[in-house]
Symmetry: C2
Subunit: 156 residues, 2 copies
DNA sequence: TGCAATGTCGATTGGATTGGTCGAGTATTT
DNA sequence: AAATACTCGACCAATCCAATCGACATTGCA
């Protein structure tokens, strides 16, 4: 039932990128900068940002003065979307997944108790994460950094 | 965010064992029988039942005519307890786990957005699974088997 | 007493996943 | 052309997952 490092890093990195473009709109931020500020291994972060880009959450520009920025407003990026992109389906068991449904071994899904319980779990996780938007996380960090001028940078 | 086979099998096996002792109180049921009825590999099931026994969910009797039975009433066994026993903490990230707390890398947990979101997820998962009791699952199977005299036995 | 049925337990295994690294590309700007 | 970035694929060690094996301990019964 765990969130992987990839998923965790993705969220932390997105907050950093979103925070940046909140402060200076249209600005790009480089992998290496994000890596330093968040303390995420650079080459690992590279993979993660690439996945986010391919998933339509980030956009990138190559070459000198290149970098990453959000592909859409931080009010349109949900934790659910991000975590699914890096960690796969939220459902604890494939027979209750909408995005990656797979039949399980019980003969009658409708009456399978385990399935009914896991269905509830899935709905509840998705209900939370699909409504938790990036702007909310950025706002929290903004407040926090305003009062505590971040001795560390990696604080989401 | 997934439930392992161990967790899944544990629940399926417990329903079978609980169903049996519901039908014939005080009766014991052998690993091999549970394995056949649930279609779980016998040696793998052995490990699982042992863990459930050591966790106080099952009790066992050795030797001829031995077997397993529930260590307490099916109304006192929750899915949360069972899944924690086999799969570890429910929390998606250790910094929101009650049973296995571990500090994460953000300097201020109280204002960490990711943590706040995951806290909600944890509470909601635990809220569901810690209130979902075995008797409810057994009841569902009982109803189902009454109407459909189980061509398959492994149907939870 | 002996033996067969049963649970107990530790070791091992093959494969997948996780977390991460490396190095050679390719695009873009100056 | 050179410098700066992102892109992409291969690789790696460690861990976990699912399952299997073999030896052993306990019990009931003949």
């Amino acid at each position: 039932m765990r969130l992987s490092k990839k998923g965790e890093y993705a969220v932390r990195a997105l907050v950093e990128i979103g925070f940046e473009s909140d402060a200076r709109p249209q600005s790009l931020i480089q992998i290496s900068t994000v890596a330093q500020r968040t303390n995420i291994p650079e080459k690992f972060l590279e993979q993660i940002l690439l996945a986010l880009r391919n998933g339509g959450v980030l956009k990138s520009k190559r070459g000198v003065e290149g970098g990453y920025s959000l592909a859409k407003g931080p009010d349109q990026i949900t934790l659910g979307e991000v975590i699914r992109l890096l960690d796969g389906p939220l459902a604890p068991i494939p027979c209750v997944s909408l995005s990656a449904y797979e039949k399980c071994s019980c003969p009658d899904e409708a009456s399978c108790g385990l399935r009914i319980a896991m269905q509830q779990v899935r709905d509840s996780i998705a209900g939370i994460l699909d409504n938790y938007k990036l702007d909310r996380l950025i706002e929290e960090v903004r407040k926090h950094r305003a009062t505590q001028p971040s001795e560390w940078q990696f604080d989401i």
